[in-house]
């Protein structure tokens, strides 16, 4: 096992930043998010998770797809160049690492590959940071996630006294650690610290099967009453990937972009003729929970929730997915 002392970490980030854009949790406007490392400044690797998940780095909030020209009856279009810049993402927690596997299913399987996502995903190396302390809103273990060791990452890091232990998981990870040179020292017998124990315990077994029989249940009316119908939960969710495609016209030319969208909004499913299959917040909230806990498992064999707790932390009215799971299991049919 290799170790880096805390004060040397910025140097390591700077070394990686020579060949890639390095993104690491930092403070911005009173919250912590993944921001580019430009050689100086404070890191915010402690204190649990970032406010926003790193999904923006693979699936940007807004992304131009192609530009077009229209003149009279003629038109032409040009694709945007591929997003081939290399990225190194440092300090990803196990829950967010798992969310990438979920996004991969959505964007890369079932007959079509989303090229925008694929390019960014393939050009990004992920360095995980184990959790030794949980936030009150954490429940990743409910989904079989180990807060002490992330899945599908290139390097695993653990916080220890005075610094971090690092272990390469993939070939690309080994290369990253080679780049560190003598910033890393061998710590032969060092043991990773104990993983955090998330305080919220939720048993998700059987919830998909239960939900399959609950589509028409009055529970959805009750649980949706307090929902404001805002999109905070979906935009802060590491596994929500819905998007919209829109255009922006500027005279004879313009561009088509895609941007995040939220199933909580009325416009999301409203058709051109005015018909809306999910007309009120009851149907929309139900769809959100069913998507996470029933539809996604049915389609891809896993839950579309990683227990990061962001929705629970930021929902203005305390709509709590762990409570929904518990209540759904208690409902009598």
């Amino acid at each position: 096992m290799l170790k880096i002392i805390r004060d040397k970490l910025p140097e390591l980030l700077t070394a990686w930043a020579r060949g890639a854009r390095v993104l690491v949790p930092r403070e911005r406007g009173g919250t912590r998010v993944f921001l580019p490392w430009e050689g100086e400044g404070e890191l915010a690797l402690g204190q649990g998770n970032t406010l926003e998940p790193p999904k923006d780095l693979f699936f940007p909030r807004t992304e131009t797809m192609y530009r077009y020209q229209v003149q009279g009856k003629d038109a032409s279009l040009a694709e945007e160049p591929a997003a081939d810049a290399r990225q190194v993402l440092v300090g990803v927690r196990s829950c967010d690492a798992k969310s990438l596997a979920i996004m991969d299913d959505a964007f890369l399987t079932k007959g079509y590959v989303d090229e925008f996502y694929r390019q960014r995903r393939e050009n990004t190396r992920v360095i995980a940071l184990a959790c030794t302390e949980a936030s009150p809103t954490c429940f990743c273990t409910a989904f079989g996630i180990d807060p002490g060791r992330a899945e599908g990452v290139d390097v695993q890091m653990w916080p220890v006294e005075g610094g971090y232990l690092l272990e390469a998981v993939t070939e690309a990870g080994q290369e990253l650690l080679r780049q560190a040179g003598d910033l890393l020292a061998e710590e032969g017998d060092a043991q990773p610290p104990a993983a955090a124990v998330p305080p919220l315990q939720v048993d998700v077994s059987g919830v998909t099967e239960k939900l399959q029989r609950m589509f028409e249940h009055p529970y959805w009316t009750a649980v949706s009453r307090k929902c404001l119908g805002c999109g905070a939960c979906t935009y802060l969710c590491p596994t929500c990937y819905c998007f919209d495609i829109q255009g922006e016209n500027q005279g004879d030319s313009g561009y088509k972009f895609r941007c995040w969208d939220s199933c909580m909004f009325s416009e999301y499913t409203r058709m051109a003729g005015g018909h809306n299959p999910r007309p009120s917040k009851k149907e929309r909230l139900r769809n959100r929970f069913l998507h996470k806990l029933q539809y996604f498992p049915e389609r891809y064999g896993k839950f579309a929730c990683v227990g990061c707790g962001r929705c629970l932390d930021r929902c203005p009215v305390n709509v709590d997915i762990t409570r929904v799971i518990r209540e759904v299991k208690e409902v009598t049919l």
Partner: protein
């Protein structure tokens, strides 16, 4: 504050049992000790869910719009700011006074849930007042059908000074600093519309931000569109903002929205004379009426 909670449950039970109302909207205990989210009670047996504590933060007025087209009569617990929200909705002809039964609570001010989470339950007593309550001018409801007699007397109305302190801070900056301040804030905006959805002044049946096809505002989450959203919403609630501070509280990104709303309130006060939205049913907002001697400057 136990007294109020007991009365709350008792009145809710009576009203539901008598059939005087079909629903009671109050607060209940949430996932954590520092959360008391909105509760909707329809069964008299279920009234013990209701709580009254220092985290009953949510302004409940907006929920009445969800039941606008039902025949239901609804009882609502109102703090000072909730009652002002009701006045706003009444002035905008959004709700029918006859269908609402208001149970007033003298509000001592609610506490900041986020700081409570950081301090921990052991230090519950040290949790500071929520930002939105610091300069509250009407802790006692301005409109109600009955007022709960509480053992916790309402806090003295906060002194007026300080109410515009944040505004003054921004005003004191140079133009480029102000630009940097606001763009840094709104570059974070996710356009989740929590601010709009919680706001009792935002009650349009169709919001232009839900009609991206209209072409007025692009759905791009980027600087120009985010600022367009910010300015449009601020101007739209101008003269109707009741300073409940809910927009700023619910913002997941912590954008100082009230520093924008309060700027407009301050300007309106200077141009049109002192006015507080949602206080007096009879007194229409300055921008909601036209007078020949209106100042030219406010467009």
């Amino acid at each position: 504050m136990k007294g109020i909670q007991e009365q709350m449950r008792a009145r809710a039970r009576e009203l539901l049992a008598q059939g005087a109302v079909q629903m009671v909207i109050g607060w209940e205990k949430g996932t954590f000790w520092y959360l008391s989210p909105p509760a909707f009670v329809t069964d008299p047996e279920d009234c013990d869910r209701l709580v009254w504590d220092e985290f009953c933060t949510n302004n409940l007025a907006k929920y009445l719009l969800d039941y606008k087209h039902t025949g239901d009569r609804i009882a609502l617990f109102v703090k000072g700011c909730d009652a002002r929200g009701i006045v706003r909705l009444l002035q905008d002809n959004q709700i029918d006074r006859e269908k609402v039964y208001l149970i007033g609570i003298k509000c001592p001010g609610v506490k900041d849930g986020r700081q409570a989470a950081a301090l921990g339950e052991a230090r519950r007593g040290e949790v500071p007042l929520a930002e939105k309550c610091r300069y509250c001018t009407h802790p006692e409801p301005v409109l109600y059908d009955e007022l709960l007699a509480g053992d916790a007397a309402a806090r003295e109305a906060a002194p007026g000074e300080g109410r515009f302190a944040e505004v003054a801070k921004v005003e004191a900056m140079s133009p480029d600093e102000r630009y940097a301040f606001w763009t840094a804030a709104y570059d974070r905006c996710l356009r989740c519309y929590a601010c709009r959805n919680v706001c009792p002044a935002c009650n349009c049946r169709e919001c232009i931000f839900d009609r991206s096809q209209s072409g007025w505002c692009g759905k791009q989450m980027q600087r120009s569109e985010n600022m367009f959203f910010a300015i449009t919403r601020a101007m739209h609630v101008a003269g109707r903002c009741i300073e409940c501070g809910e927009c700023e509280r619910v913002c997941p990104e912590g954008i100082p929205i009230m520093a924008l709303n309060k700027k407009i309130i301050k300007d309106l006060n200077e141009l049109f004379g002192e006015y507080e939205a949602g206080v007096d049913l009879e007194k229409m907002p300055p921008l909601g009426q036209y007078k020949l001697d209106d100042p030219e400057e406010f467009h």
